[in-house]
């Protein structure tokens, strides 16, 4: 018998613990040309804002050893164009759609949450984008609480909060939990930078950029391990996962599910492969249900 990979979140059961991470998977339509997205737990959309954004100038991508720096700058068509033109199409892809949003202040989060139709699976608050000029991705726990509370007041469905790995991430996650989050997504990219020796200037116009990919996996895993020790809501691990074994490390650390971003660029069929590898591991170990091994590596 195939091992059961489904996992229960607070209000919802995911068919699989593997979720496509925001900003790396468009709105799902491109990867749907390559494989059936129904095997995924969910797809998180590119982060949407109230007004359309053109994003940052080139260059937007830079490679580091086993890592990727990006400075996209939240390019997106705006929440209204998304809800009217794109969402009806992507709701037909046969996979739960989680809508990611970013606002400048608590009011904007409230407004964004009000505009999301109830037929999306969850709302993910991006409280951690490192690529918005003039804005720090690191919020104080009080600022996190205000944003989550504002969104919670106008969205009654499943609410995920994606936090930065920097600053007081434990305090921020606890504040989000208290303000009504149903799950914490940990983590977004780490701020990094690169300098162009020819130009003697930072590579990116915005100086700092977000570091993702295998290079950050030990760091994101550590944060997920810490969070799972203090939170009572589910944690969704994210950062550097490229294989089924990587994903299982997060589950063993206590995560309910994982999000995978950069790995999609390393291999366009990375997510189906990760799911297959998780299944093979569980089968080889005689584990019938992935929930049996959640948190099994935690020191008691």
């Amino acid at each position: 018998m195939e091992p059961d990979l489904s996992v229960g979140l607070r209000n919802w059961r995911l068919a699989s613990p593997v979720i496509a991470a925001a900003g790396t998977f468009g709105f799902g339509e491109e990867y749907a040309e390559l494989y059936d997205l129904a095997i995924l737990g969910a797809v998180v959309t590119k982060t949407l804002t109230l007004c359309p954004r053109a994003g940052n100038p080139q260059p937007r991508l830079w490679e580091t050893p086993c890592g990727l720096l990006n400075s996209i700058g939240l390019e997106n068509p705006g929440i209204d164009a998304f809800c009217q033109e794109i969402l009806p199409r992507v709701l037909r892809l046969g996979v739960p759609i989680v809508v990611s949003v970013f606002g400048d202040d608590p009011e904007e989060y409230g407004e964004l949450a009000r505009r999301i139709p109830p037929n999306v699976a969850a709302l993910e608050l991006n409280l951690s984008c490192p690529n918005v000029p003039g804005k720090s991705p690191v919020l104080a726990p009080t600022e996190v609480a205000a944003r989550v509370a504002a969104a919670r007041a106008s969205w009654s469905g499943e609410l995920w909060v994606k936090i930065s790995p920097e600053g007081d991430y434990l305090g921020s996650a606890l504040a989000a939990q208290d303000a009504g989050a149903d799950a914490i997504v940990a983590v977004n990219t780490f701020r990094g930078m690169a300098i162009d020796l020819e130009r003697r200037a930072p590579v990116f116009a915005n100086v700092m950029a977000g570091l993702s990919g295998p290079a950050i996996k030990p760091l994101s895993l550590r944060i997920v391990y810490e969070l799972c020790g203090v939170l009572h809501i589910p944690v969704i691990g994210c950062g550097g996962i490229t294989s089924g074994r990587d994903a299982l490390e997060f589950i063993f650390a206590g995560a309910h599910a994982v999000q995978v971003g950069t790995a999609n660029f390393l291999h366009p069929l990375a997510l189906p492969r990760i799911i297959r590898e998780m299944q093979e591991y569980l089968r080889s170990q005689g584990i019938r249900n992935i929930e049996e091994v959640r948190g099994c590596a935690r020191k008691r």
Partner: protein, 251 residues
Amino acid sequence: MSPLEFREAPVLDQREVAPNIFLLRVGGEFHALPGQFFLLRAWGLHPPLSRPMSVFDLSPGSLSFAYAVRGEGTRLLSRLRPGDIVQVLGPLGKGWSRAEGKVALVGGGMGLAPLLFTAKVFGRPLHIFLGFKGEPFLVEEFLPFGEVYVATEKPGYPGAFLGLVTEAFEPRGYAAVYACGPRPMLEALYEKCRAAGVPLHVSLEERLACGIGACFGCTIFTKRGPVRLCREGPVFRADEVFDGARSFRGT
């Protein structure tokens, strides 16, 4: 449009046609339009991104790429031997289509890569201008498909124009011009084509991550607003990407 496909293709052969310039042929039945490209990868975690390569040639049973070794990715590609496996994603992007009448293709250095398959599909009447910094390469491949003119900045190549290809080329009289090469070459060409009232189509480059339109890593700012080079390009009408677009700096 041909459906997007991901494959693991065997290397049929690879040869160094000039110093640091390689011709790589992989096996399989592929489809593509002139101007389209594929993402190639033949390594593990590093470098993280796959490398975009234009279709150099497409025949029953094989697909070839012509590339210059620039850094780690192309160095790894250049080590592939017959029987090795390459991951191939594509065809990607939009191709370019032929205007009726006499058209010209202009390539600068490695920018000739997308032009051979273009020449093959476009057919005559066709003039092909190839510019080089030093010794010309791969010129003989183009000879069956049109009138070929060669320019080089280094003296000593009989029959070649001594200087820049943009100096050798005169756009008047062509229904359209299709070009690929370094940005300054394309901009110089655009000035000439605009003055002559001849439409210019250019193939552009940015770093790509997903290659399929999902990450917004390759966005360039055009007259119609931001577009994803990998999806809406890599070929554009020059007036869409060179006029007015440069002043736009993002949000």
